[in-house]
């Protein structure tokens, strides 16, 4: 277990604690991003050794054991992009809800949105 992985696991639990305690939607989204970052840090720290070279450019002429594993980095670029898209959609929805209800509190937003749609009928 490398140092980066230990940090990642701590971040994971910290973010999870934040998710189950925060009453504010903004804080929940921040915790979500931290949780995702922890997974990325964990993945990147998988096969890290001291003094390792990046797998690009001139260092490729070195023997393979001195070069970092490129696969986790390729995967995590994908994960970062997906995380960006998901966070963007979260924030768009939050902005819409805040404009409608004037609040970012989970319970308050729920109370205000639910009161409008009490019955099962349309129109």
């Amino acid at each position: 277990m490398t140092f980066a992985q230990t940090v990642a696991i701590l971040m994971f639990f910290l973010a999870f604690f934040g998710l189950i305690t925060s009453r504010n939607i903004v804080k929940s989204i921040v915790c979500l991003v931290i949780k995702e970052t922890s997974a990325i840090v964990f993945f990147l720290g998988l096969r890290f050794r001291e003094g390792i070279l990046p797998p690009i450019g001139e260092s490729l002429s070195q023997p393979l054991e001195y070069i970092a594993d490129p696969l986790p980095q390729a995967l995590m670029i994908t994960a970062i992009i997906i995380g960006l898209a998901v966070t963007a959609v979260d924030i768009i929805m939050l902005i819409y809800l805040t404009h409608e209800t004037g609040s970012t509190d989970w319970d308050e937003v729920k109370a205000k949105t639910k009161a409008r749609v009490a019955s099962l009928d349309y129109e």
Binding site: R47, V89, D90, K114
Partner: protein
């Protein structure tokens, strides 16, 4: 070759989106879907002889993305193409923008991708993108309440899938590969104690996506969104959740040394029983169908966790996709006609529109497992040759399903008081009637189709078939009595109906589920 099955729907979607005429695009969409269904049948016939493997980009096996079509996965690909064709016919006359058609075909590509891909990381990618697509599709007709539920849906899905990402990191650390087949070979030689954590991490996310009970609340929330298109709700419980069930089966094989079947057997039973109580207490027809979906998925998981009911469960996945799609699509039509989702206000469907009534009746008969229908065959093989106590519990579960849908069937009779004279579009009627007839067809030739799809040698014994038919008949009579006296339980049922779980509660239940499963798998 398999790459095209994933990429083709997406490319077609973009092409149709760029086409200037909306009407031509919709017609072309149907034609292309029909041709695509033909191709998937061709794929199935090919993969019956030998599994087809494609490495995307031509890299080595351990680095590239592997797509593999064996009999099982190509059967599900065929099912996906069929359901999307039907929902395309259903949505033909809707005046929704082109965005709907773009997104729904991208979704099709993603679902097919999940069925074919044999790579741990790409499951994550496909599921995340599918989550985003679903979020946009349900918010498609924008409304305040749906944005709130959509936000909860997308956030809680992200929380769950991050457990999966952590599990994948562990797998990569242990095995040095993300290819499922190579990883499975390494895992079978790895020390058991090292496998527990990745297994539990991955299974937490997969069970969340399967919508089993402590983690099920997202599915009814999404499907209960007032203006979410019916086709989306139908595909969500017909196919999207089934991807997770399919992956559940795959991961149980991959993690064979630590795979725990008893835990999931218990979880499936718990899900089935609690969902039935929830479904029976609801008044919203969408929510009744949503909770009955989770009950049926519980049943499927039970079947996959016992020793010898695999074929029954796999066939039930297909059958459930067919009749639940039909029920969701008809619920959309009912909402248009009656302008309400309240089950108590909808009466007299038979008098208002006999063909719609017949197709609803066919689907109801299929889901409750009436003789000759497809639900009957798959439930027969799930309950075939199991322990006595399990047989009794599953009979009770089936009685619950019958009770829910006897109540649902009450809508068919009486006078259409609140019905408005909405024009019944022919394409909608044709699509739901087709599904109803198809569930009768897959019931009558059920055993033959199962042997064809799964290459099995199954047969029905007359004695136990008669016994099960007798139990079914008694259950129906009891269910009618129960529904007649349901009003006496109104107070208690309303209490159950008002149960709601918020975002924090969902996160806590994911964490608790993870902890409990870790203790169960690690120490017991």
């Amino acid at each position: 070759m398999l790459t095209y099955f994933v990429i083709a729907p997406i490319l077609i979607a973009v092409f149709l989106y760029l086409l200037s005429s909306h009407y031509v695009a919709k017609i072309l969409a149907i034609v292309v879907q029909a041709i695509f269904l033909g191709f998937t049948f061709f794929l199935f016939m090919e993969s019956r002889e030998q599994a087809i493997i494609t490495v995307v980009g031509g890299y080595a096996d351990s680095i590239g993305i592997i797509l593999r079509a064996d009999m099982l996965s190509s059967a599900f690909v065929m099912l996906t193409a069929f359901i999307f064709l039907i929902t395309a016919i259903y949505a033909l006359n809707e005046s929704w923008s082109k965005l709907y058609w773009l997104l729904i075909y991208i979704w099709q590509g993603l679902i097919i991708g999940i069925f074919l891909v044999r790579d741990f990381f790409n499951v994550f990618v496909l599921f995340e993108v599918a989550t985003l697509i679903v979020a946009v599709l349900i918010l498609f007709l924008r409304e305040r309440r749906s944005v709130f539920d959509g936000l909860i849906y997308i956030m809680v899905n992200t929380v769950a899938i991050q457990f999966y990402l952590f599990g994948v990191a562990y797998i990569y650390m242990l095995t040095g590969t993300l290819n499922m087949d190579i990883a499975a070979a390494v895992i079978s030689e790895t020390d058991k104690s090292q496998l527990i954590l990745p297994y539990v991490l991955i299974m937490t996310a997969i069970i969340f996506k399967c919508a089993l009970i402590p983690l099920a609340s997202w599915l009814p929330k999404v499907q209960g969104i007032p203006r979410a298109p019916s086709a989306v709700a139908a595909i969500l419980s017909g196919l999207h959740v089934k991807c997770a069930v399919f992956l559940f089966l795959q991961f149980q094989f991959i993690f064979e040394p630590v795979a725990n079947h008893d835990f999931f057997l218990g979880l499936g039973l718990l899900t089935a029983i609690l969902s039935i109580i929830m479904a029976f207490s609801q008044d919203d027809i969408r929510l009744i169908l949503a909770y009955s979906s989770t009950a049926q998925i519980g049943l499927i998981i039970v079947g996959l966790s016992t020793n010898n009911a695999d074929y029954g469960s796999l066939y039930h996945i297909i059958n459930h996709a067919i009749f639940k799609t039909s029920l969701f699509l008809t619920s959309g039509m009912l909402m248009q006609i009656y302008k309400t989702r309240d089950i108590n206000k909808i009466t007299g469907i038979f008098k208002h529109s006999p063909i719609l009534g017949i197709s609803i009746l066919l689907s109801i008969l299929a889901i409750i497992g009436a003789p000759l229908f497809n639900g009957n065959i798959s439930k027969y093989f799930i309950m075939d040759d199991i322990d006595m106590w399990l047989y009794v519990v599953l009979s009770v579960v089936n009685f619950g399903t019958i009770a829910i849908f006897v109540r649902y069937a009450f809508m068919l009779f009486g006078n259409p008081k609140n019905a408005s004279a909405v024009l019944m579009h022919k394409n909608k009627v044709v699509s739901v009637l087709l599904l109803g007839i198809f569930s009768l067809f897959t019931g009558i030739f059920g055993v033959w189709i199962m042997n064809f799809l799964f290459d099995s040698q199954l047969s029905v014994s007359v004695g136990s078939y008669i016994e099960k038919t007798a139990i079914f008949a008694v259950s129906v009579i009891l269910a009618v009595v129960l529904c007649k006296y349901r009003y006496r339980l109104t107070k208690q049922l309303n209490y159950v109906q008002a149960l709601d779980i918020n975002f924090r509660g969902m996160c806590i239940s994911i964490g608790l589920f993870f902890a409990i499963m870790l203790i169960f798998v690690g120490f017991l």
